[in-house]
Symmetry: D2
Subunit: 87 residues, 4 copies
């Protein structure tokens, strides 16, 4: 993976992890409100989407857009179609 993508994605994941830990701690209090927790979880999912977007763009540039120059178009497209279900 391109170094720039790795660093940017790692930074986003570190933020998401911190946020996740604070949500988990908030669940220790018995008066935490369900709807607030749902909103917080959604914010973490947005951060993970952001990290995935960074990685996907690096992947497209480094591996997919160049596929025909290496002759592995079929492998790269099959793999991408499968992974897009995961993004």
């Amino acid at each position: 993976m391109p170094e720039d993508s790795r660093k940017r994605a790692a930074r986003r994941l570190a933020i998401a992890r911190g946020h996740l830990e604070s949500i988990r701690l908030s669940l220790d209090k018995d008066d935490v409100y369900c709807v607030d927790v749902l909103r917080q979880i959604k914010a973490v999912q947005g951060a993970l989407d952001g990290a995935a977007t960074v990685i996907l763009r690096g992947h497209l540039e480094a591996h997919v857009a160049t596929a025909a120059t290496r002759g592995d178009e079929k492998e790269r497209v099959d793999e991408l179609m499968e992974v897009l279900k995961y993004v």
Copy 2:
């Protein structure tokens, strides 16, 4: 939030946080493969969806299904419609 929902959701969030940390560490290696990281991020998102499902069910049981007995149907439905965009 019902205690059982809180405990179950907290457990899932703890697992998601551990998984997230291991993904972040994998990004330190320059030969990590983009597609593997995308799959791992998706797995964490699935775990977060699981935590949100637990919390949402507790919320529906404790606050929404009982709304007409308290007379706050409008507030609970408006709030739920808004939060469902977040689930």
Copy 3:
């Protein structure tokens, strides 16, 4: 379903159907551009989401928020949790 929800949802579905037909016709031309078709399909999905939102709100008001007054909380919550996977 409340009459107002039915009418509003039906109107949105009629619009979505018309849009869908025009996309289908555009596929008869061999120079149609993939990315344009993907955008159009997404617009139809947005219209369907809009129809589903109208119906869901009517359902919450008419059936879920009133569940405790009838004693069918468990059935309504189970059913809603299942259908939310569909929204």
Copy 4:
């Protein structure tokens, strides 16, 4: 768009349109059940996802995997990242 993709996508859109019309007609009856309509709408969205998947694969094969041979990698990747928000 490759002819095969166009024909397969058009067939799926025709099916989705027929399904959509039957849902719309079901909304004329005042005893239609909200949850059934939500399930039907979701089925149509699944059919549209199927059509989009066919088109996206054709696009990746014809335009993205070959980008480096034409030198338009940046345009194709930017466009794809934008359209993936639409799939």
